[in-house]
Symmetry: C2
Subunit: 364 residues, 2 copies
């Protein structure tokens, strides 16, 4: 059972399958402001990485991660991790506006990096990351967990690649999240730090739209953000949506929000509906509400009939092993460097487009 009442600490467990030798891929951790670091380290570790060196400005946070990876050492400083010549990759889930800098610092020292989403929050940071990638040849991997770490989403990608629904026409992603306001740190409410709701949790959805449609790029055709029910936090956005037109003619829509009710047995009733020329599929990611508390459901309808596929245990999370091999071999198979950066670039563009409209919310 995964703890899944709270998206902050949701760290799926997969089957361990090492793609490298013990000691071949030591990972250093810098910054644990978001609990996603557990999922990131878990995925890498299951694929053969050694979580080797941990640093956070909060010693209690570092100790908590250390308890999960007791073979790791606690570093005295961020610099110690960056300068350690044995560390191959730096993983970070620091505050969103700091993540790009950690990644750049890693790449400038000849290491690869793996950065929680959103990996950065503005165009200036993106330009600096692109520059560092180009100049160093290192990897700037991004943890778009709502696809990479959701077995039903991974399996849906496999089914599409096998032609299960023909050519993909459109992707709709609905991504409600549980707010759990009392548990949130100050930066969570500060748009300059988290980048706005589309940059933050919308980047996941754009990544899925690009991936499932097989597009290389897209144009944002509409975007909207609003604060409907959290006026106590004026810098916060609790709703966002956008439409995309992909460079191959397919298209997408996503909705993100912080309105998961207390009565749902998961942090969010995340769905993706993908229509193709020969059929469609719906992914119920974390729960099948009022039917099954477990997640990873695919409803596939094609010319032959309707099928309910339980994806848990089918394909695991191949991203992590592929990404480790990419780092070791200089390949680009796990996600594609440009794909990872394109998703956040479009998210920042959509966020800016939404800001051009008056701030949304209930009138009167």
């Amino acid at each position: 059972m995964q703890a899944k009442q709270d998206g902050q600490t949701y760290a799926p467990k997969g089957k361990a399958h090492s793609v490298c030798e013990p000691g071949e891929f030591p990972v250093g951790v810098i910054g644990m402001d978001h609990g996603h670091i557990y999922g990131m380290c878990g995925g890498l570790s299951e694929a053969g990485a050694d979580i080797a060196l941990i640093w956070d400005s909060d010693a209690a946070k570092a100790a908590a991660l250390h308890a999960k990876f007791p073979n790791a050492k606690i570093a005295k400083s961020k610099e110690q991790v960056l300068e350690d010549p044995s560390i191959k990759l730096i993983a970070t889930a620091s505050i969103p506006d700091q993540r790009g800098e950690v990644g750049i610092a890693a790449m400038r020292r000849g290491k690869d990096c793996f950065v929680d989403k959103p990996p950065l929050v503005n165009h200036e940071q993106l330009a600096r990351v692109r520059e560092a990638v180009a100049e160093t040849g290192r990897k700037f991997g991004v943890y778009y967990s709502e696809r990479l770490h959701v077995e039903a989403a991974v399996h849906a990608g496999e089914l599409i690649a096998q032609g299960a629904i023909g050519k993909v026409i459109q992707v709709t992603v609905l991504a409600p999240h549980r707010l759990n306001a009392p548990s949130r740190p100050a930066w969570f409410w500060d748009k300059k730090r988290y980048g706005g709701i589309i940059t933050d949790i919308g980047s996941h959805q754009i990544e899925q739209i690009l991936y499932f449609t097989g597009a290389k790029n897209a144009k944002v055709t509409q975007a909207r953000v609003a604060n409907y029910a959290n006026q106590g936090h004026p810098g916060f956005e609790d709703f966002g949506d956008a439409t995309l037109l992909c460079d191959n003619g397919a298209c997408g829509y996503f909705r993100v929000d912080w309105f998961t009710p207390a009565g749902l047995g998961a942090w969010g009733d995340g769905r993706a509906v993908i229509i193709g020329t020969e059929g469609y599929m719906e992914i119920r990611k974390y729960i099948n509400p009022a039917a099954d508390g477990d997640g990873d459901h695919i409803i596939l309808v094609d010319g032959q009939g309707e099928r309910h596929i339980k994806a848990a245990g089918t394909c695991g999370f191949p991203f992590f092993g592929q990404f480790i091999r990419d780092c070791l071999d200089g390949t680009d198979n796990a996600m594609g460097q440009e794909h990872a950066l394109c998703a956040i670039e479009l998210a920042i563009e959509a966020q800016a487009l939404a800001h051009k409209s008056a701030p949304g919310g209930f009138s009167g």
Copy 2:
């Protein structure tokens, strides 16, 4: 059991509950180009109307409807129906670009009218209908069947009115339809006649967005149409979507398409997801795919928990009785005249906005 493989002949049956005396509300039928006329007449008849006089240019079509309503008479001409002083209401499911004219002719003769959706296909027709409504004081009712004749959608409206999910924030409607190309008449493929996919089946969805959000009007913020897989019919659109910002600050998105696969046990896996400040609900209108061949499911999640509500047999289809009473009493309770016209007005606006973009579809 409803025959629901084909949306053209989908005519839900409800409980009979007369709101008027026998003979008090005789209905004349003019034009049966779309099978929706069966659902329209069925709903009116269950609420106490008498289907009294039938005319179609195709005698076989008139005879087929007569077989369902053997107390009716077959008229010799359209004029006979329009001029019959006993007829209170004219129902029409003629070709979309003719429906407005039938309605205007009825109203100009002191009768109310009930028109299949889309009730008209351009702004000029809309202006003439508005003028006729204003000058005659008669009703121009529209059969937006995807809400009015779907018990789960009606019950969802009741639940929202009772405060089940708080204040409605956003409505997403996904409305795939079965193409069944060989069964379609020539006008189905001709955009001038059916108005484009958003005017045609999008008007249903806009009506739902206005209704569920409680908005009086909205602004179309994005719209798109495409022909992805029917290049043999260059005037056809098999995909459309749009986003709306409502006048009360809530918002909506809908997607319409003709890609229901052969393997689905219904003509479309129509869904609506409605999020509110206190919970959300999903409507699975015609089927719960890979789980239940019957329709009318509501998944309701609030602060207390998750519930699966089977709406069949709960509330019936109160629109028809309310509309008959509106016609007899001069009230405006069933839908609201302005609401009915606003939905199609926004659909025509969205369709025009979509046409401003280059026609969409797969590139290359």
